[in-house]
Assembly symmetry: C2
Homo-oligomer: 412 residues x 2
């Protein structure tokens, strides 16, 4: 492989996670140390920062503050939900990106995001190849949704899963404190894939979690749901339900659909309010006391409950992207290959073709959903439990989080 | 003071907290060790357990499991919201309580709860005095609402405050990740007192918290609120709001009132849905992207973010109740007397008359609310910051909480 010298850009895109900054730090830290990489730029708000010529010079940052990115939730560089055009139809953005790459002699491009971001990354990679501009492009995955193709799991999933499992255990305790009974409905993120909702089963595995769990991988039936709740409530005088925001009827319409009509930049319906809606339906039907709880943004920014393993793997995926790019690889995403034989967990990086990853969603296998479609099988527990392990040594100040404070000096 | 030998009962009442079990453990641990206390009973679901003759023999529990109560949220013995009658009007319950006290030779009664529970505790104390049954009655406070009279603060407040401040810091980071702007409205518990909502100001103090904070101590004005949001949003393209569930208009009606008509056992309106409602009002008026987040039960059961100091003080209040009762005191609640001179925090127990505590609410002093009624002054920060200090060494299993597992053997 030929040596390639030049600057690099790291951009962050899509919904943030507790550990996306750990991945970015993996890129930044490895890139700053690599003699082939002349400058390290952080793009403000992902690809928009490239288009707008808003690049931060990461070499200007205090290394100690940069390291705190490992424990700082959300996207420190700023994120975007920007749908880049098909280059065959409109190459305006690509020409502008090429112009900026040339201006700063950018020869390495790292894009840190989920499905849609890998699509952006893939399109830029293919465009640069087409126009013959030598630039190595690597995707650095993140998504709490855990729905990226070809990798054992995605950085960010485990920390959100740990937040969800821990919170469900606590709510379980709280929601059965009275002898008057309660039906608690917890709404969890995940439009099309139920990985996060399934994570609530880790609480059940520990004896303090949802009695009923509904994933978007299978159709939702309101009558069946109400009968399930009735049965559990009659037996226990309490019932805890975990439900994915993306549960849908057999015709494909979201159960929450009537509640909101807003959509995000990619045309996805913005969901929410499902927990309150289902709780009300239960109340009307059964007269039980109900409580709808939406974990909302809390589940994706709960860095105080991050998995240490997730932080380490997130850093690793960023650093591996740099290492492989410098070694000559391009057009890839850094995935994970894991083993769990005999309860021993191993994880090593593997490179996936961006083309294969872009826009392909990985769902929870049906064999991990119970036959009744209201619970999770042990296979998922064995899969997920190793991922949430380890407590990071969180930096605190006055017993509150000490997040990274970046200077964000614009590159000249 | 005369020596009094006999059994004791500990009961828990009202909404649970992250650390109410630490207080109960303080009572149980001290009582089990005290030679004057012959047996230690835990009442199932507070005073209802006495009325129903459902008492657990705490001497049958594994001491190691009992100690885990320090880190186990919710009321381990079960709680209740039972409004005991005025004994002059209906003394049925009191006669039954006396009957049970005599049956088990109960000479010490400890009641662990908030305002309403101290009222129950007070009425039982006065009744026993009236009928001449020698029984020492002590209130052990808990309430995340922090609204008990005569004490510097209440066990449970600090851990909820720490949860709220930490979560607000994380949401702050998450809610400003895009360049498209967002108005995030966080709804926090507190019907009549704004202590918990004020705790969100600890996040602002750390540079990552709400821009606007609304407490129920002052009247809410929708036009003023919308103007406040407009101003902050215009300046920052982002706005984070913290609002108490109990904010009300000048006529006293709750802002959230139209949303629900349910009431709990004490006739309090059950509030909720305010965050979503205010977010929608902002959206309609400004067109901004909005997100309503209700911290719901999470804020009162988030033991994983408990303040170590709160756990220690909660335990202390329980143990002090036993110590003082055995020494001859009765008809009191264990409060705290604290100093913060020169940044050095001290806390010692002080005994308050149950009559003074029962049904008296302590609100946030107006001098800690800013002149514009949309923010919190430094005085509150100085008050609250010492309370949230310290990280407990949380027992975990597979990186998830390991809660106490009680056998709950019914007393014969």
């Amino acid at each position: 492989m030929s040596t390639l010298k030049g600057a690099c850009i790291i951009g962050q895109s899509g919904g943030p996670t507790s550990v996306i900054n750990a991945s970015a730090y993996g890129v930044i830290d490895a890139a700053l140390k690599d003699p082939n990489i002349t400058r390290v730029f952080g793009a403000e708000h992902g690809i928009k920062g490239v288009l707008n010529d808003r690049l931060f010079d990461m070499g200007e940052e205090d290394p100690k503050e940069l390291e705190l990115l490992k424990y700082t939730p959300s996207s420190a560089l700023g994120s975007c939900r920007y749908k880049i055009a098909d280059p065959d139809k409109d190459d305006t953005d690509y020409k502008r990106i090429l112009e900026i790459f040339k201006k700063y002699d950018v020869r390495y491009f790292f894009y840190n995001g989920g499905n849609d971001s890998m699509d952006t990354c893939n399109k830029i990679s293919k465009y640069m190849q087409k126009v013959g501009y030598e630039c190595r492009v690597m995707g650095v995955p993140k998504t709490i949704d855990n729905d990226l193709f070809g990798t054992d799991h995605c950085p960010g999933f485990a920390s959100a899963a740990k937040y969800i499992a821990t919170s469900c255990m606590e709510v379980y305790k709280d929601a059965r404190v009275y002898d008057t009974g309660l039906v608690a409905v917890v709404e969890i993120m995940g439009r099309h894939a139920g990985w996060l909702t399934a994570a609530s089963a880790l609480a059940t595995y520990k004896g303090a979690g949802p009695d009923l769990i509904y994933l978007p991988e299978v159709d939702f039936d309101m009558d069946k749901f109400l009968a399930d709740v009735d049965r559990v409530y009659a037996a226990n005088k309490n019932c805890m339900v975990a439900v994915s925001e993306g549960v849908h009827y057999a015709d494909g319409s979201f159960v929450s659909e009537a509640k909101t009509s807003a959509t995000d930049g990619f045309g996805h319906a913005q969901l929410g309010g499902l927990a309150a809606m289902l709780a009300n339906v239960v109340k009307e039907r059964t007269g039980a006391k109900v409580r709808g709880i939406e974990l909302s943004l809390l589940q994706r920014c709960g860095a105080h409950l991050a998995s240490k393993r997730d932080i380490e793997e997130s850093y690793m995926s960023g650093a591996e992207a740099v290492k492989n790019a410098v070694a000559g690889m391009t057009d890839k995403m850094v995935g994970f290959e894991c083993t769990r034989d005999g309860g021993v967990y191993t994880c090593k990086p593997k490179l996936l073709n961006l083309t294969d990853v872009a826009n392909t969603e990985k769902k929870v296998p049906l064999e991990w959903i119970n036959a009744d479609h209201n619970g999770i099988e042990q296979g998922f527990i064995d899969y997920a439990l190793p991922l949430i392990q380890g407590e990071p040594d969180l930096p605190k100040e006055d017993s509150l989080p000490r997040f990274a404070r970046l200077k964000k000096v614009l590159a000249k």
